[in-house]
Every structure is written in C-alpha cells, then in structure tokens.
Symmetry: C2
Subunit: 336 residues, 2 copies
Amino acid sequence: MTESAPSGGPTIACIAGGVGAARMLRGLVRVSDRVTAIANVGDDVELHGLHISPDLDTITYTVAEAIDPERGWGLADETWQAMDSLGRYGGVTWFSLGDKDLGTHLFRTGRLRSGTPLSTVTREIARAWELPMELLPVTDDPLRTHLVIDDPDQDEPVEIDFQEYFVKHQHSVPVHSVRFEGAIDARPAPGVIDTINGADVVVIAPSNPLVSIDPVLAVPGVRAAIEARRHSGVAISPIIAGAALKGPADRLLRELGHEASVVGIARLYAPLVATLVIDEADRDREAEVEAEGVRCVVAPTIMKSAHDAASLAQVVLDCVGEPSEPARPAERAGET
Amino acid sequence: MTESAPSGGPTIACIAGGVGAARMLRGLVRVSDRVTAIANVGDDVELHGLHISPDLDTITYTVAEAIDPERGWGLADETWQAMDSLGRYGGVTWFSLGDKDLGTHLFRTGRLRSGTPLSTVTREIARAWELPMELLPVTDDPLRTHLVIDDPDQDEPVEIDFQEYFVKHQHSVPVHSVRFEGAIDARPAPGVIDTINGADVVVIAPSNPLVSIDPVLAVPGVRAAIEARRHSGVAISPIIAGAALKGPADRLLRELGHEASVVGIARLYAPLVATLVIDEADRDREAEVEAEGVRCVVAPTIMKSAHDAASLAQVVLDCVGEPSEPARPAERAGET
C-alpha cells in the first residue's frame, strides 16, 4: 500500500478550504489521477463588481504550481498596476488583486453574468491550467460565511462577511458566532454528492474546520453523504500542537467553544471520518484522539514541499482499507 | 477677443463624445477654467461584470495628459497582464483593458454597485486626476447605443451594441439604423440642464454626430435646452474634406442617409448652433454651409498638439458675441 499509486489510483474526494487544502491536493494528485476537490465558496466575495472565489483560486494556482510561494495566495511574478490605479481613486484596496489574478476574476465574472454556473466556470479555469484533478465548488448557489464580531467603532456586535474578517481585520477580532448565509437553500453542485458516494477515500483537508470545512458541510446533503462514507473518511488535523499553521483556526475554535487541539478536531470530525491524521508534534495525544472514536494516525503533516505533500497523501491513502486497529500506517509510509 | 482668456474665462458647456471631444476639451481648458463637458454614455458597456465608460475615460485621460498618445485611448505606459491572463481562459479579449485602466473600471463599478450615481463617480474620478474642468455624463440612467447591421453569419440584420460594432467589428460593417436604448426614460444627470442654460458658449465637439452627439441629444430635455441657447452655440465639424479624421463618422453619415461633408454636418446642427467651424480644407464650401442657416467659420481644426487645441478653442470663443455677419474670426485668431 505504500508504493506509488497504480495508474489511475484510488478515487479521492477531498473536502477543501484554501491554503491547507491546496497543499494537500498538491500531494493527492501525485498519488492518484482520480482526485476531485469539493471546495468551500463561503469565502467568495463580490468586489468592484467582480466575483472572487479565493479558495477555488488558491487550489487552482497551487496545484498548477503557479501560486506565489511567499504569500501563499495569488500568482507568482504578479504585478499590481490595477491596485495602484484603484488606490489613486481612494478605492477599496484592502483586498489585493494582482493584475494577472484579475484575468481570472474577469473571466469568472463574465461567464457567471452570462448565466454559466460557477461549477462550469471553475471547470473551464481548471482546464486552462491543465490541473490533473477535478475542482468543484460545493454549490453553484450563493453561500456566504458571515461572522459576528465586536465592532471596533461601536459598542454592539456587528455581522461582517468573511473577507472583511479575514483580510481587512486580519482575523484579529474576537468572533461571537459564524453563520452560513444562503446555506439552507443551497443545492450541491452537479457531481458533488456522486463524487462523495463513489470515492474510495473521502479526505477532509487540513483546513479551518469552522470557516472552511463547515460551510461545505452546511450545504444540505453533503454532511449526510460524508457520514455515510465514514469508513472511507480520513481527516488531517489543521491544528498542530494547539496552533494553526496559518490563519485563525486555533483562536476561532477557542472563541466558539471548542478545544484548539487535535482532540478538539477529533471531537468535531468523529461523526464524519474513521481516521484522523495528526502531526508528530501531537503524538502524545494519540490515545485522547482515539477516545473520541476515531482511529489516530501520526505522521508529518507540515507540507512545505510537493514531496512533503505527496508523502502525506500516501499516508492518507494508506489509512483506508487498513485493519481497524491503530496500525500507524504513517510510520510504515515513512519506511518506503 | 483673441487674447488669453481672463481669469475664469467664459462658462463653456461642451457636448462631447470620445477622442475628438477630448482633444477639443484639452484646448478649452486652456482658454477657460469654467468648462463643463456633458458626455456621451451610449458607448458604455458591461464587460466581465465591469462598467466601462469609454468616452468619459478618454476625456479624463486626455485632459489629464495621461492618455496613450499612439492609441488615442487608454493610459500611457500601460501593461496588459490581466488581458493576457484572460486570454489563457479563452475569455473575451477584443475589448482591451490595460492593467492601470482596470483600476478606473474597478473603482467605477464598485461605486456604482454601492448605489452611487455615475455622475458622482465621474466627478470623483475627475477630481483624482485633478482635471481643470467638470465632467458630467449626460445621464445617470442606462442609455445604450445599438446598431442594426448585417450579421456576417446570417442573412438577416442583427442589432448589436456600440462596442461590438466599434471595436469587435472595427466599424467595418454596413449599418442600417441606430437606436438609443433607454433614452426615452433617461433623465439628464444633475447639473446637465443648468450647465447648458448658464453657459456663455455651448460647444458641440468634433465628435461623431450620429453615435456620439445624438445619444446626448436623445436624453429628454437636452436637445431643447441646447436649441434654446442656439445663439451661443458653436459646433466644430468632425468631417474634413468629406472624411472623418478617425472612426466611422463619414461612412455612417452616408449609410444613414446624410451627406458626409461639412454641408451635411451644417444641416444636422443648424437647429442647435448659430456657428459651424469647418476646417481650412473645406474653405470652398463655406457658402453652402451658410446656406444651411449657420454662420460658417473657417479655421485649422486638426488638433495634434495641445497648442492646436488651444488655438481652436480660442476660435470657438471668438465665435460667440461676434456680429452675425460671417466675420471669419478664425483668421483673426491666426494673427495673434
């Protein structure tokens, strides 16, 4: 099971947010050519009339090896003429849009305006980048993550959209609650449920559980489909030694009443997956994780390089079809 | 009357299309600091979700001395990263949007989406460029120039919007008719009628009469206001020796049953202005022009430089308040 994937490889459905998921997918496509990402659109935002899908683009650019490696978002060798020009007018520039990146938003917005569903446009964009995987937004319907925060300018809480929280406020304000506007009426995009139903492995990527994975699960039918495939489900903890590698997952977990640890993650994901992969830094919490009702696999989970990502992807594949005792396939993977 | 304008100068309302008007305005602001352009928005187009106002931008960039001098549209020292990127996706690239120029469209679109009227956004953009004049779209309401052409792919005529005709088809297809979609319900933008009523001089710029000036006149109230100020009205012929300097004005005039000459222009504009300025190349048609009921002034009308534009602007000012005999102030202007 630790060899390179045979031609084709297992069918993988990966529930995905942004950066962490993109890195996981960069690895998964190296162990299978039957990967489909089902991605969060709760972070999508309309700015300057353009429809921006940050998670879809981060996945596309990362898997295409075109992402800016320093920033972790946007395209490498980017220029910023349009933003400079927008700044001249006193326009909204807290959400940076590179000139090349703008081409993606122009294309997506133009196609959406002409009535094309987001899932179709996303497929067209993925094809243009020759991605060795399928990329599906979880829904073609509007779904937006809203957060209730303390308004710095007012005494009472205020509800803002995700990018305002994440980019404008640099996720440095306390969050009282999260709400997925539109989720109740959203339908899974064509292919989403079938992909989960038909997958050999359902992977929950190391993304923020509360604002990247939860909005995907909030689309009616998606959570139930994943639960039905629990035996084939593997999650990778986005929390390492109590902290998020990037972004506010640890802080959000605490603020919203969860434990910011691999045990907290196990508690959240136990209904969805049979296995949780945790980082070696959390090895001492393995028993606590398993006490939450999931098998625990310990492995290096920090994906700096494509090689790191591919190794972790192999660990994930090894989790499925193994005997249910805690066999630590991660360590076996390490032997190859 | 041929000296430099006194501080302030006369109040000038200039009915404006794109390139020709922009050059005229570049001159008018050199002879008066009380210039207001009332500009065509029939060429406006929604592309990729962005609201693009080509005539407003051509005026702004030209008067700000920021226009690309070779192309005559867009900004100097422009880059094209966004368009290259859009091309990767097979997106619509026949309408070129430079990266810097995109900043203008992003700002305008964002402000319009937030409910700000086009006239307000236009003022904000003009202020950012420190334009020494006011720039008003003729209306804040949707008004779009449509043209009926022979569809190259079909046997029967098809109606297309202006930019499709002008840019995509390079205005090289026969036009059967022109229609100003939305004109009947459009209201003049705040300030438009007052500007015309209060102007010492109402200038009709050397723009295409049928697709640049006519859509301005099609907004209810505008034509009547200009007619009421006919004695202060001066038009500059966009046709020189039977041809347009740029664009399809000559061809369109013929196709739509007019004469492509200064006489044809005189016939169109006689109800609107007391004076028509024609180029020296058309000197021999002066009597024919006056037979149409307008005073004819002969002057150099080709504006290659800011100096040319300022000289023509002075000619225009000299036209107003002159005795009604054909006094040829252009020649007097030439003596200064």
